[in-house]
């Protein structure tokens, strides 16, 4: 079974029935070119060495596994450990992937890089590596997200990236992604599209997972040393799902480890105002792959809602769809309000301000604390830091009190 899992996706980019390549003909050649380049890079020891060197000296890996003593005490139950992806350069796990993809772009001789971003963390991580390698960088970002994640926009501009506001549709991540795809269709020959999550057409869901699986590999080693064995739970937030796949990938098939993916429940699952794609959606096609998706009776994509810009997306990675169907991961959700409460709680208790996305994973622990055993050891993927979320808190009047 484990070996079977390692062979996913199949050569056509399918995770079971999910995944594939649902894109305009114009970009098919670019996906084939990318697939070939990536397969070559994956076999190359030189590529791996360069990638590892950058991960250690530029990104700051390995990131620590930290025992969250006071948060554990608050829960009066299990021992909670944070996998500190917030300590990466640029403050989130996103850079694990952008370093990998920029090395590929350089190998393929591409001169121009585009990316979509929601919370701005992926845009920032892309702008950062583009600056480092001297490539032209264009970031598509919804107008609504530009408003709520302003600090990241300024950083991207400072790094030399052009941030293009997207004013169509919901003016969030979904529309930024559509616009980035349109740019790619137009400039496909010169341009490398750095997708920020395990979504999109094959080979992206596979490639982004592989680049993010460094989180899982380190965690596994650290568990052996610090916990003396495997944890009982691993918990991560899921928007597109890249930090979750990254940490889960090394533990799939371990019967004793329960994997929990936490989606954005927004204002509540029955309000229609959420982004809990796996919990409430059904399989469909958007942005290049067949996966769980939120759409109405006519197949039109539904506008999602989440307090967190990074989770505010109506789709999810195809591998998550398969893992949901197979039951390898349990997908749950928490509301905006629960996430916000956990955000403030962990800031106070641990002196760590988590990203609003990450706060969803933390909120699940708070919500489930009575069901967890004292002997349980739980890893939370602390996917990013929350500095960027100050405008959200301000707009909620959190600093007026």
């Amino acid at each position: 079974m484990a070996a079977d899992r390692r062979n996913r996706p199949d050569r056509k980019g399918r995770f079971g029935r999910y995944g594939g390549r649902y894109v305009p003909e114009t970009v098919i050649y670019a996906l084939e070119e990318l697939d070939a380049a990536y397969r070559k890079a994956r076999r190359s020891s030189e590529f791996r060495q360069t990638l590892n060197a950058f991960l250690s000296t530029y990104v700051g890996r390995p990131t620590p596994l930290y025992f969250a003593d006071r948060f554990s005490e608050y829960l009066s139950g299990p021992a909670v450990y944070f996998k500190r992806e917030d300590l990466n350069h640029t403050g989130a796990h996103k850079i694990n992937n952008t370093v990998g993809q920029i090395l590929l772009a350089r190998m393929m001789g591409k001169k121009r890089v585009i990316a979509e971003t929601g919370a701005g963390q992926h845009g920032l991580a892309t702008a950062t590596v583009c600056a480092r390698f001297g490539l032209k960088c264009i970031i598509y970002m919804g107008e609504e997200d530009i408003r709520r994640q302003a600090p990241n926009v300024n950083k991207m501009r400072l790094l030399g990236a052009e941030v293009i506001p997207v004013s169509s549709g919901s003016r969030t991540l979904k529309d930024a992604t559509s616009e980035a795809l349109r740019d790619w269709v137009t400039n496909v020959r010169s341009t490398f599209y750095i997708i920020g999550s395990v979504v999109g057409p094959h080979p992206y869901p596979m490639m982004v997972r592989d680049f993010q699986s460094v989180i899982g590999r380190e965690t596994r080693q650290q568990c052996r040393r610090q916990l003396g064995g495997l944890p009982d739970y691993i918990c991560a937030c899921v928007g597109g799902g890249s930090n979750a796949i990254g940490i889960f990938s090394e533990f799939l098939g371990e019967q004793s480890v329960r994997l929990i993916g936490v989606e954005a429940g927004g204002l509540g699952l029955n309000t229609g105002r959420h982004a809990a794609t796996l919990t409430k959606g059904k399989p469909g096609v958007l942005h290049g792959s067949y996966s769980y998706l939120m759409y109405d009776r006519d197949g039109q994509i539904v506008l999602p809602h989440s307090i967190s810009a990074g989770l505010d997306y109506p789709g999810v990675g195809p591998e998550h769809s398969l893992l949901k169907d197979e039951g390898g991961v349990k997908y749950v959700s928490v509301t905006d309000r629960q996430a916000l409460k956990a955000f403030k709680l962990v800031s106070r208790l641990e002196g760590i301000i988590p990203a609003m996305e990450t706060a969803h994973a933390l909120a699940w622990l708070v919500k489930s604390r009575k069901r967890l055993k004292k002997s349980d050891k739980i890893i939370v993927c602390l996917s990013g830091r929350g500095d960027k979320d100050m405008p959200i808190l301000e707009s909620l009047g959190e600093f007026d009190k």
Binding site: E25, I28, A30, G169, R182, V188, R189, V285, Q300
Partner: protein
């Protein structure tokens, strides 16, 4: 023989003129009037767009018309009703263009049979490349409807042949890399590409994306078997003072193109 096949076999040297309209833009009645006006102007096939919330192969004009049509409550059922209404007065073949998710959501098999019953003749699904289309093509074959795929300047020769094989009747050639609309310049690169298609496809093909004038259309049909015009028609309607005037202007424009392409 299907209506599309009949048009393809009886056209002799005539070049195909194919206008595109978004169903429900600016409203249901006007779309019907526009389609009828196009038939009067002497077009060979009609392409009707079924609006989608996230049209990733489309530029600003068709994004606008899709969004406006959805605001009016246009769905797949309405698009099929439009086909049915049109069939009462014309035998011109009708190709439905739409993104894959609404069709999946409707149910592929049910959609193909409902479309056939309404009087549609074929489909273009821009986000369904040949490799992913086996099931859908089988359904089209069973219903005797055409499946038309896009070939692009970035398609390899191998893919060009693969795509031609998957297309019944004709192939849709995207003129330049990019999304729909924008009034593109067709230079040497485009003509070289179209000549390559002629050598490689072994099937008739029409050229579309960014064809915004009678001159551009005339230039393309020197190499292609026809042209598709969409965004320009949407713009004419969008920027007309009244819908009646829009319909008239579209008729005038299509007659000029008809004359230019022969």
């Amino acid at each position: 023989m299907s209506r599309v096949t009949r048009v393809m076999t009886t056209r002799s040297r005539r070049k195909l003129l194919i206008p595109f309209f978004t169903a429900g833009f600016p409203d249901y009645r006007t779309t019907l009037a526009l389609l009828k006006e196009a038939v009067k102007a002497g077009v060979d096939l009609l392409e009707i767009g079924m609006p989608f919330s996230d049209p990733m192969a489309d530029g600003p004009s068709i994004q606008h018309s899709s969004h406006a049509a959805l605001q009016k409550g246009t769905d797949l059922r309405q698009a099929l009703r439009l086909v049915g209404d049109l069939r009462k007065t014309t035998l011109v073949p009708i190709i439905l263009m739409g993104y894959y998710n609404p069709i999946l959501s409707y149910g592929e098999s049910r959609f193909v049979s409902d479309a056939a019953r309404a009087g549609a003749d074929g489909f273009i699904i821009p986000d369904l490349p040949v490799e992913e289309s086996l099931d859908f093509r089988k359904l089209c074959d069973q219903a005797h409807l055409s499946s038309i795929f896009l070939v692009s300047p970035t398609s390899s020769e191998g893919r060009m042949r693969l795509i031609a094989e998957a297309c019944t009747d004709f192939v849709y050639a995207v003129t330049v890399t990019g999304v729909t609309g924008g009034g593109k310049k067709f230079g040497r690169e485009t003509s070289d590409y179209l000549m390559k298609l002629k050598r490689t496809l072994g099937k008739p093909f029409v050229a579309g994306f960014g064809v915004s004038s009678a001159e551009a259309a005339a230039r393309l049909v020197r190499f292609a078997d026809g042209v598709v015009i969409g965004s320009r028609l949407i713009d004419i309607v969008r920027y007309s003072d009244t819908t009646r005037q829009g319909v008239r202007s579209v008729g005038r424009f299509l007659r000029a193109v008809r004359k230019a392409v022969g």
